[in-house]
Amino acid sequence: MSVSDKPMATSAPGSSVPKPPSGSAARGATAWTRFLSPRKIGAVYFLILIVIFFSFLDPNTFPQVETIRSILNEYSISGIMALAVIITLASGLFDLSVGYTMGLAGTLVAWLLANTSMSATEAILLTMATGLVIGLVNALVVVFLRIDSIIATLGTGAIIGAITVGISGNQIIVKNVAGSFSRHIAGLSIGNFTEPVFYMLGLMIIIGLVMEQTSVGRYWYALGFELDVARLAGIRVKLLQTAALLATALVASWAGIALTARIGAASPDAGPSYLLPAFAAAFLGATQFRDGRFNAWGTILATILLGAGQYGILLSGAPVWAPDAFYGVALIGAVAVTSLTGNATSRWRGWPPWMRRFVTAKPPPEPESP
């Protein structure tokens, strides 16, 4: 008996029995693995893959500091636009007029500089005020006339687009734009990054903090998730929806001003082309860091990811359609990785055993400690 007991006694505390998690060290480890799992930051892994891929493909030009600079400079305005749309998206509204708002702002500021004696500051202030008015009109239609936001902002967007063409006479405006205005608003700054990069980072921090650290942000998310809960909780639904639409219009207006300054000219059709990339980055960003909430950090990560891929493709001399194709594939791929690993209701049956330790989603709920 004692002979047969022995191996059992020795094997019991051995490696085959999982140790109970002890203390904060174990919990810290799971918190880290949880944070690093692809369900939280799939886009980061995707970005690393892209960088490695293009570094092999293009070893001379891609892995350079200049690449980072170019990508950020090139996609900063896209990033600002994406930040603009997450505010309304978080509160459950679609603002499809952002592209046209951006176009109007860019055109208006150029027109004011070209055709009036206004200083750059005055022109910018008047343009931002116009952006505010656009936000109010959107709020009037969406919040007070209660028209579905997708339809309403398609309508207001078309009107804003028409006004833009009317102001510009469908011409590209360059007079008085390329000079000091351009240098001051979108010139080079610290480390040869252009100023729009800092606008983007600054807005990311401000919008990120407002959405996650203030009660306004909490209310926006509540509206977006369950409007009825927000209403029953006595939240001022109309006021907050109005605020979201105003914020989006203002940020989009600033993106328009920055674009005009960077190019040194205002083209009436520049804005609308930023619409879809902004929404793409916002939706991809929502899958990052915050489990399905639209958030500033994920949105900028998504912008950089999508930008890096497009930039790499352009650099490698691929055909003109390749960047767009990449864009679609990357968007679906990154969101799929996140949603397949994160969502319990999906058909996904789990990672193969060898992968599991890297991506374990969460520990099972433990019983309450006495």
Binding site: Q213, T214, S215, R218, Y219, Y221, A222, F225, E226, D228, V229, A230, R231, L232, A233, G234, I235, R236, D291, G292, R293, P364, P365, E366, P367, E368, S369
Partner: protein, 540 residues
């Protein structure tokens, strides 16, 4: 569509067992064309299962025999059921709101078509009109979306679709609680409609909770209780009181409540659970904290009541009686008007919205999974603090540590079980009972004067149910007035000192003290009249 001779539908030894539950046990019943056969019984007595077996949705246990005319079968599938001439209008009527009446009618047996499969809208329109005139609604807008139609017209379209003769001969029409969603004024029309259908030689099988309808249009009545058929009676040979007694059964239901094991109750509040089930009615002394006069909404007509501090008042009533609207109307969450509202003796003149009601201390905790209950993508902490965000905000910033400590306190006090760091768990990960506790805690955290609870125990297991009762009692004792609307009569028997019974949007009875038992409430709720056992104290 009429049948010249009468046909009978005989069901023999029908049983249906679900895992862990017998839904129907050895039911033998004969239905005949040309009569209205009412089927009565409490929730869970097997009425719906009976209908679903005949519609082919459920497969009956072996040994069952279904005979329609000359056809015999051990079970039916939906196609066979239709071929035998059985038609069904289920509880929610199965109307697609975005589609028009024409399209909804066509959902039954398909569109009239021309060559190449093109829909023949003209024929389809004529057919829809004919069918609707058959049910006395030939004049309604048949092209607009049904979402704009009144509830009664939706029901009419559902019935029109069911009796569409293009689907073959019709022998029996089964209606599963069609009046539940109807305002009381429309019930008359439905009764006439049922008589019209019967006079065409069709057998109508009518499942309802409303006894007045049974005596008005029924020819025979069958009663189910606890999965068994208790019998079938011609309407002329039974009266309402006898029927109530049969439905409710002998008064040994109290035993079912005593079965709840004591150890599942939460530790903190166990003492209070053990306290008397009916709190003393001394709370009613003194002026009311809230006094409501002439509350009106879609289903409520001129409702008036008072609530006193420390009182738990139940609101009972059938679906459609206004019971489901009262808590929401009280805080202005649905369109409602009130003639006079006093809170702490102060008249309130402004119209109520959830926001203004919150300032007055009138709060509503909806039942779990009901509209406006909680945000499943928020964590527990965010759900708990949502209505009171300003008190967690300093210099614009939400102080999460304060949120956390308050959340932890509620998690401890209400024994919300969600493992370690429960306050950071997503609401969706919680079990139904714990979700309900979080919803209630969210509103208790606001220290309400009056807390209205809607269906606080729906989808909640026995242990959590007891815990919720204990929470409610505890806070009433601390001076909160609680209005508890529920379709589960157990709730009233456990915590309420007073129960308002609603019928057609008004209070028809008020049960107090010893009268607050499951049986008495059920009898009053289904009877829709002042029961003899009810106190004759005027409702106001």
């Amino acid at each position: 569509m009429t049948t010249a001779t009468t046909t009978s539908l005989r069901v023999e030894h029908l049983s249906k067992t679900f895992p862990g539950q017998v839904a129907l046990s050895d039911v033998t019943l004969t239905l005949t064309t040309g009569e209205v056969h009412c089927v009565l019984g409490q929730n869970g007595s097997g009425k719906s299962t009976f209908i679903k077996v005949l519609s082919g949705y459920h497969t009956p246990d072996p040994g069952t025999l279904i005979r329609v005319g000359d056809t015999e079968a051990a079970r039916l599938n939906p196609t066979e059921s239709r071929q035998l001439g059985l038609r069904f209008v289920h509880q929610q009527a199965g109307i697609v709101s975005q589609l028009s009446a024409v399209e909804n009618v066509a959902l039954g047996i398909g569109f009239a078509r021309r060559r190449a499969g093109v829909i023949d809208w003209k024929t389809q329109e004529t057919r829809t009109r004919e069918l609707l005139s058959l049910v006395g609604r030939g004049d309604i807008d048949i092209w607009g979306p049904m979402s704009r139609a009144r509830a009664i017209d939706r029901t009419a379209v559902a019935i029109a679709r069911a009796i569409d003769p293009a689907g073959g001969e019709i022998r029996f029409l089964f209606l599963d609680e069609p009046t539940a969603a109807l305002p009381p004024t429309e019930v008359d029309y439905l009764c006439e409609l049922i008589e019209t259908v019967r006079d065409r030689g069709i057998g109508v099988v009518y499942v309802t909770h409303r006894l007045d309808e049974v005596f008005r249009i029924g020819d025979r009545v069958s009663v189910l209780r606890d999965a068994k058929l208790l019998g079938t009676w011609p309407i002329g040979e039974i009266n309402q009181d006898q029927l109530v007694d049969i439905i409710v059964g002998p008064p040994l239901l109290e035993g079912a409540q005593a079965d709840i094991p004591a150890e599942v109750t939460t530790a903190d509040l166990a003492g209070e659970v053990a306290a008397a089930a009916t709190p003393d009615s001394a709370a009613q002394a003194g002026p009311p904290v809230v006094s409501v006069r002439g509350l009106r909404s879609e289903l409520l007509h001129d409702l008036s009541f008072d609530l006193h501090a420390g009182e738990i008042v139940g609101v009972a009533g059938l679906a459609g009686s206004g019971r489901e609207e009262l808590p929401y109307a009280l805080i202005g969450a649905i369109p409602a008007t009130v003639e006079a509202l006093e809170v702490h003796g102060q008249p309130v003149s402004e119209p109520l919205t959830p926001r203004s009601a919150k300032k007055l201390g009138l709060l509503l905790a909806p039942g779990n999974r009901q509209l406006g209950s909680a945000i499943s993508k928020f964590v527990v902490r965010e759900n708990l603090t949502l209505p009171s965000m300003p008190s967690y905000t300093r210099l614009l910033r939400v102080v999460r540590d304060r949120e956390r400590s308050v959340s932890r306190r509620w998690i401890r006090d209400l024994s919300i079980r969600a493992g370690e760091r429960a306050e950071e768990r997503s609401f969706a990960e919680l079990s139904g009972g714990n979700q309900q506790k979080v919803i209630i805690a969210k509103w208790l955290n606001m220290r309400p004067t009056v807390l209205a609870l809607d269906e606080p125990t729906s989808g909640v297991d026995v242990g959590a149910r007891e815990a919720i009762y204990a929470i409610v009692r505890h806070h009433a004792r601390e001076g909160m007035a609680i209005l508890l609307a529920s379709s589960d009569f157990q709730d009233f028997a456990h915590v309420c000192s007073r129960v308002l019974v609603l019928w057609e949007g008004a209070v028809v009875a008020e049960l107090t003290g010893d009268q607050v038992t499951e049986d008495a409430i059920l009898a009053t709720v289904m009877g829709g009249r002042r029961n003899t056992t009810t106190s004759e104290v005027p409702v106001l």
